[in-house]
Assembly symmetry: C2
């Protein structure tokens, strides 16, 4: 089968064997924003040469701006509940293929405020398919990071943090960005940022430390970016309870290294997963839906 | 005398009578970024026709990127300590005028992290010159908001929050900004944002409520901007202790209305001051330095 993670700004395709192992993968910048109006054509080109009939898609492709609007499944929800709501597109959508879309997930906090995800639920299913803990946490870092709680094989709830988007905005458009110079990863500056986030005070105030640390030579200009990265990731992790249990981390290599360091600094036990968890999750959903 | 508040992106000039009352004011977009290299020329044009010899300048004009780099005076500091460090520019700097620059202020929190201001200290001096409380707080909203504590006639310490800059970044460049439509002030959406900021959880997570409140029709697109404004101002005020005492608020009319509402919602007693507090502070400094 083929698993597709089709987001706002990119598309990733995975060809899987019968056990859900990734045989090949492809990536394209044709996210739903640029592919709008020609989803079938973009998909056909992306998976050309892969002759598997079954294609399972997740992500913003199932949003109102996508190919077919899918509902949100309410938490708590696991592989069973999500697989039960998957929908097949009309056979005419793409000749010779059987296209399915995965629904999004929705949760509500104690005060009734909603949170949503589209796409990350396949990563959570990938983690669920591989673990048997009664209680665990999952961090899915990104533009909009998701932090989920798993209880008895289901996603109990989750929360979004706009960590990645805010980091990019601050680096590209803020006063702080103008003070930065290029440099590689700097573990010391990053750790200082993570520690700073634990201090009393709001993020709006903590951000200004990047300014004064530069002004008074606590940090060099090339250390301001890793400091800010640590500060924001640290703030995201402030919402992770100290008794969160094992924290499953699903991320691309660079983010994996950063979040592993930050979680370790905060005393959490981490189990790292590659981004292939998403493909594994699609496979688990397809199997539960009786498609493979 | 003439009081000048010369910041990064704008310049404000006030002509004062012998008691420090504002007779006339002028404004220009020639902040130190655009005026760099021709400060004397810009100043001469700005105050042309005002024949007062004494000119007291504050703000980024005293920074490394300004006309003459001034030190920071360490807190606690009041009108006495700041006036004692004012410097006169060489007489040749601007023929026929006597130019003085006000130093910045610096503070250090319990963990030794610095915070700084340049320009806002004249607003604080303006408040100090008008009040006799033994203990009070001051909010100076803006791109980089300052919250200061006054103790026994001096500035005891202060903290910067990047509230205004983050609001502008999010409106102009983020996903949230793309969801907003234009609309006027909306007291209800603003109050919802202020209340949301009091909830458990980090700002990085709270920001995403602007997304889901839009998605599930809790707020209309034209209400997202006032909600975000309330959310950010609410987060800034989270660092203001409940027993802060009277909160002096110095701001231009639009921000004054917003912060007054947010402070009242949090149960603080507010005393509002116009932005002319800055000119009043320059006059108080000049008097203490024996210049008027």
């Amino acid at each position: 089968m083929i698993a597709i993670d089709w987001g706002t700004t990119s598309l990733r395709a995975f060809r899987l064997d019968a056990e859900g192992r990734v045989l090949e993968q492809r990536r394209s910048a044709q996210g739903i924003l640029t592919a709008a109006g020609r989803f079938a054509e973009v998909l056909r080109e992306t998976i050309a040469g892969w002759d598997d009939a079954l294609v399972v898609m997740a992500g913003m492709i199932g949003s109102r701006q996508g190919w077919f609007e899918m509902p949100y499944v309410d938490c708590p929800a696991g592989i069973d509940e999500i697989a039960a709501v998957m929908r097949r597109l009309p056979a005419a959508a793409l000749a010779g293929r059987e296209l399915w879309i995965v629904p999004g997930l929705r949760t509500r906090d104690g005060a009734g405020v909603y949170d949503v995800m589209r796409g990350e639920e396949t990563q959570l299913c990938g983690v669920l398919a591989q673990t048997e803990t009664t209680r665990a946490s999952v961090c899915l870092p990104g533009t909009h990071s998701k932090r989920a709680t798993l209880v008895e094989g289901r996603v109990d709830g989750f929360a979004t943090a706009m960590t990645g988007e805010l980091f990019a905005l601050l680096c590209e458009h803020s006063l702080l960005g103008r003070l930065m110079s290029d440099g590689g990863h700097d573990a010391e500056a990053f750790a200082l940022g993570v520690a700073h986030a634990s201090r009393k005070g709001d993020l709006l105030h903590h951000l200004f430390a990047a300014r004064t640390h530069g002004l008074f030579d606590v940090l060099r200009p090339d250390q301001l970016r890793p400091f800010l990265s640590g500060l924001l990731i640290g703030h995201e992790l402030n919402d992770l309870p100290a008794d969160a249990g094992i924290v499953h981390l699903v991320a691309a290599p660079a983010l994996l290294v950063a979040y592993e360091a930050a979680l370790a600094q905060r005393g959490h036990a981490v189990r790292a997963h590659s981004e292939l968890a998403s493909a594994r999750g699609c496979h688990a959903l397809a199997r539960r839906a009786g498609l493979v």
